[in-house]
Symmetry: C2
Subunit: 96 residues, 2 copies
Amino acid sequence: MILEIAQIDVTPGQEAAFETAVAQARPLFDGATGCHGISLHRSVEMPSRYRLFVKWDSVEAHNVAFRGSPAFAQWRGLVGGFFATAPVVEHVGQVL
Amino acid sequence: MILEIAQIDVTPGQEAAFETAVAQARPLFDGATGCHGISLHRSVEMPSRYRLFVKWDSVEAHNVAFRGSPAFAQWRGLVGGFFATAPVVEHVGQVL
């Protein structure tokens, strides 16, 4: 299992609307092959910064299958307008 | 509940020793007031980069109580020698 960590900076003032959009987008991840769910976390120190966690079977399930699917375009359509900058995405594997 | 996310870059070649040291240090967190456990995650894209997740009752439980305790000095004593740069620490609260 791989955890995607996406750092998303939202345009200040758009935080509530962004959170609503992510909630609306949740079924896109729940229905994606190899996806095991999302959670959204807001920074204490930088309140316009979020971390989206997405559990995947593999990096390829995210980078190839999901990003090549219509669900990815729908996801970006729902939330992309709130991005202040391009998200920074990494993948990590749990070791402990 | 607050999640601390610490980005830790380890000196290349020291990854296995760092992971062993974090495993040794785990009881320091398990015994800390207001701490609900740690997990360690290694970056796929940057194999010398880790993310340490620590669950706390509050930011103060981490920044004030833990950092002011002997356990923090023990933690840094165990792992600090493996750091390539100073860790970058943030706190997030789950919103979804």
